[in-house]
Symmetry: C5
Subunit: 354 residues, 5 copies
């Protein structure tokens, strides 16, 4: 559950705009890459230093600056100052436990969103905070660490596939959002595959261990839900926003992203319903098993206890027990025992316990 808790408390009481990194401590050096492109050309570059960033030249090109590693608050601040971000924006960028949101600072749009992917090493769902800043002809993206879901966007930029090189920064923003939301499907598919195999086990051969797996799956869904619900508001906010930063022609694409988000929300809700149903069936199969165990016990005990009693009676040492002297005493008593046992079996059969 480590993912529920981030050390928010260290910022309690600090003045607004204090840059304190919240989140996993990382030691890697932040990496800064720059894409500059227009319809004809593309220039891709890794920036050693933020001061290398020259925002004046090549004015007509669209720029995408990506920064990996927001734990280096000094670098974030340096970059932020150069492109004139509000201190509160910077605070939100480095504090990686933000709720997804969209804010309109007139000069730029600021979007916080959760990128979700399956960490291949640890085989678990990981959420990373992406902050996106949209200027008139520039997008800046801030990530927690290296590794992201933007490779397809980079490829499309490099190869000039589709509309991406012909369109402006708002289309690039859309492309990045789309890549993030599309990746939710990948994660949900994985969850769905888990769900399918769990369902199989639960319905056909439930074991106590399955319970913990259902539990962890449920918690994963709680966390996913917490990321996706506000996303819905973010994207619809983006659509409704009246800002010159987003052109009318991009609206239709945002609507598409919005549809995908809604569908993700729907899928998560469906999965939650399915999980609850699985929990119910598990619990009741436990009850059924107990019932079966009880029946076996009851049948054995109820048949043999009276028989043992009869044997006990004729094991008594009274001097005067006439039955003991009868020639056929023993076989008669065995017959009686057989009859008692048979009657019991018949009774349980009628009850439907056999």
């Amino acid at each position: 559950m480590r993912r529920f808790l981030k050390k928010q408390s260290v910022t309690a009481g600090l003045p607004p705009g204090s840059l304190v990194h919240i989140g996993e401590k990382r030691t890697t050096t932040p990496k800064l890459t720059l894409f500059q492109y227009d319809e004809e050309s593309l220039h891709e570059e890794e920036l050693k230093d933020i001061s290398d960033l020259d925002l004046t030249k090549k004015k007509k090109m669209t720029r995408w600056i990506n920064m990996d590693g927001v734990h280096d608050t000094a670098k974030v601040e340096e970059l932020g100052n150069q492109i004139k971000l509000h201190p509160l924006t910077l605070e939100d960028i480095v504090n990686t436990d933000q709720r997804p949101k969209i804010e309109d600072y007139d000069k730029y749009l600021f979007i916080i969103i959760k990128m979700i992917y399956v960490d291949e090493h640890q085989q678990e769902i990981t959420a990373e905070q992406i902050s996106l800043v949209l200027f008139d002809s520039m997008v800046i993206s801030f990530q927690e660490g290296e590794g992201d879901v933007f490779n397809t966007v980079r490829d499309r930029l490099r190869k000039g596939k589709g509309k991406i090189r012909k369109s402006g920064a708002d289309y690039l923003l859309y492309a990045l959002l789309d890549a993030i939301v599309d990746h939710y499907y990948v994660v949900l598919e994985r969850v769905g595959t888990n769900l399918e195999s769990l369902e199989d086990v639960v319905v056909h051969s439930p074991t106590p261990e399955i319970l913990k797996e259902i539990y962890y799956l449920k918690q994963d869904l709680v966390v996913l839900r917490k990321s996706v619900w506000p996303l819905r508001e973010v994207i619809s906010g983006l659509q409704r926003l009246e800002t010159p930063l987003i052109k009318d022609t991009t609206d239709i694409y945002l609507r598409d992203v919005y549809d995908h988000t809604i569908q993700t929300v729907d899928t998560i809700e469906t999965y939650r319903d399915v999980t609850s149903g699985m929990m119910d069936i598990y619990l009741s199969s436990v009850s059924n098993k107990m019932n079966e165990v009880m029946k076996v016990l009851t049948i054995f005990a109820s048949i043999f206890i009276p028989l043992t009693f009869i044997a006990g009676v004729y094991g008594m040492n009274f001097h005067l027990m006439p039955e003991l002297e009868w020639t056929y005493g023993y076989p008669i008593i065995l017959l009686i025992m057989g009859l008692v046992g048979g009657t019991m079996l018949l009774y349980f059969h009628r009850k439907g316990w056999l």
Copy 2:
């Protein structure tokens, strides 16, 4: 649960408008049929090739083009280009895991909806995606495979029954939507019949197997609900839309479809309530059964265990046990045993366990 999962992930990161078929792989050749009609005449034709489609001639007639088999993305694209559909529309048509929705592209209306029917071969509820495009005097419908719920509409067209031949493309759209929504009733009736027979079993003779059936029914309802809820928004969106494509005289018919949709939603919610109630009664009947088993065990054990103890005492081999030598020792002890057993029976009778 195969129906929860479609391989959405393959499109992650592709540029918008990439036509990737999502859904069951089908190998059949797509089939294209064309209805052209006005009040006087009807022309029905199966198109071998999309280029056979001549949209210029017979301008005053209403056209309905139906395509079975959206897995053939090349054909969808060819048709789409000829009638000038937006790339995003085409993407949604071939990606058959869309949420029902309505989109207004000014020149045309685009509607995605789920057609639900019971597959007679596999005896299970099947959902297929229908995409409807409404132009000024043309409706195009895209289906996943052959077989649909539109035969009654075709009959009405052929026979010229009712208003359908006298009215325009918007009325045809209504007729198609109405056929789809009406078919939800057929499916719900089937679910309802299942529910009725399950209820009968649950109330009168619950078995562990019934639990799985309730579980699958519940999942079916979850899936149905996921299809029907957005339908509600789609139809009400269609009513509120201010578009010249839908004439005022059609509004009243759309209101009728809307009423049917609401009723479908209500019925599903009622079924969900009923299913929960059945789950409760099943679980508690399991408890009752266990209780009964426990009572039988307790009665047998509690009566015979003390008696066996008494027999055990007089089976001891002490040299000096005066009772053993008494003439009436044995009958007295049998009498005592009878009294103890009788007292126990009386006690359990008082407790209400007998």
Copy 3:
């Protein structure tokens, strides 16, 4: 659960306005009655034939036409054509599985509502669909069968009690709605009385049968709720409607009906809460009973099993068992048994199981 299911499916795909009767098949001949009245006079008549209906004469009188038996679709159509109802209205009238709703057709208002009453023969709650059509000076009511809740309204008309003869058709509509909604109280009272007696049984002497009764009561509430919730929208829709058909002076009476509807909804919700509470208490009293049974079993078994073991030991036939030869062996062993049993009793007493 027969009440959940009506054969809606037969209309799937038919053109709108097709008159197909949905609902219980009835064989009785439809009955048509006409009330014509103004402040001074009242004319009551049973119409043999629809053509007897002369809508031209006596223009200043208010008319109430009541038709029992909408299964005779031909008659409904004949009447509908004479008073110029829209085909969709007629379709809704004969299809008696509609959701309560209100529709404004400019020339008339169309209201569908459920009349609920306790069928005295079958002792169960029955819902019947009433369709009400309000013209400028005429109300037409369509019922499924004979027998209704309007007798008090008829009496008030005949006796000229209250405002009813002095007011117009809209007041008559109010009076009919009020009679229907008031009858919900009668049904709810009956449900409440059941609830009270069930509660008594559940709290003081729960039996497994009670569970089924709670279950059926719950289903009844589900069905009632499905009828009453939309009623709320219908009445509030009626209040908000801007139509000349309803005079301002009638508004205050509609507000009164609305209040009653809200209260009915509240009562149903309260009953649902109470039913859930009863379910909980039943289930937990089952647990308690099981617990008690287990305790008796445990006490008996745990006391006598060790004693029987001791007896068993001295029933062994070893040649050399010194205790057997002691003069006081037998009483000593009985004493030991008494001590062991007493200790056990003390232990269980401490545990609070006795």
Copy 4:
């Protein structure tokens, strides 16, 4: 649960404005008291007869007429006619099973509200309906019986404390509402005290009886909730109402009453949450107890059953059982028994059952 049910049905079908008393039958004579006051003087009087009421004189004074005993419909009607109340208002006053509501009749405001107090004789929560009518300079309050929560208001009037004598009828209305809402706290405190002591019992020594107490507490909360929820709408309706009957200076006081109402609602919801939590903990403590009982049974049975078997073996009467003749047969067998028992104890200890 008698409080859920009032004989509403008797009014079904009666014309609106029929005065039928719904509610507990009372035999006491209605009591009518009148307060007339302005800043300087106060005149308090018990009216023997309604005709004693002279509404013409002393025009500048504020009047408060209080009537105890609405079961006397004749008196209510007489008073109602004298102050010109609408027939529907009178119907609502005598029908004491109304939902709290506010209605604006232009000339007067009509408020129905539930007064809740703990009946000291029967030690249970009692709800009584209060109807308040606000005229320009007069408030009339109708109560079901004697005894109310207005004594503090009367005292403030008599002593001229605070603003009450200086302000008009709307302030008096506020004071009465405030007294009623404040009394909800008294009742909720009592419920809270019960909750606290129940929680103590549930957490530390749950007994089956506690369950019924939780159940009744829950039902009390259901009833309280039903009274308080609509109250919220009533008070906020009162605030939003644009009427000259309420002066702007009184708004701030109404806001205060509104805050109290919200807080009451919050407290009830919190109590409901707490009650559910207690139910859960009770049920699971029952499970735990059962578990403990089962463990004791299992330990005893599992230890002694094998030992008794061994004893039984050497109690067999075979002629040739060599062990029986061994000199140390008996002690050896006792040792073996000790070992078997010890092993079992060790096993259960490892399982954590001891």
Copy 5:
């Protein structure tokens, strides 16, 4: 649960504006501190007496008056009169069981909010009511007792860090609100840590005691929720308020506080979900344990009960039991016993109970 209950009832029926302290009785003397500051200078002072407060001089400075100890109603009233607070404001300040709210009294804004912190002595979550009053250039804060979360704000004031000394009273209000809301994180982190360790115990080694801890945690969350939900409305109300008291430049900071509040709400809801999940897993692990106990009992009883019966049969004293005389009677019977026991073991193994 002492925290649910405060003696609200003592104010029932008192005139509005009656200052009655609700809440824990405290005996300490109230403490009054004053900060006066502008960009250049800061003056900090502890006021012995309220009359020391001179509101006329140093007009251009911003003032922050903090009062610890609202139980001294006389002092609160004295201060209130000097700064001209409405009597209802004063009543709310001393009644410390208010719901968080915001009220606009034109001349000043009045905010009630709950300050939540972990009491280090009693190790439990404590809520204290803070009332904030915002004038044009003055903030007054009222606290229940000494000790608060404002030290960081005081430090920033003293050191002149950030914008705080350069901005006005509205920014100070923001800073105080921010400090309070930030402290919710500290408390939630603590709750989260508890949750994590509880989860660990529940999943790996649940004990009955854990249940009570989950229960208390749940109640804590109920109380936290009750404080935080209205906070959301308060802050968003503050943002929407059109008042000259709050400058436009402060809006962006309030939006930040609002985001934090939403996130707090989200976290509480997530924790509630997690707690419910833990409850489920606990309950079902109890069921599993019971199942395991039952299985051990059943296996032991079912194996040895038939064997004991066989031994009992050959312990009978019939004179004619041929088997007893056989030379190999004893070993044969032992063999049979072994076979029976082995068969049982095999059967249980097949059942999967071993």
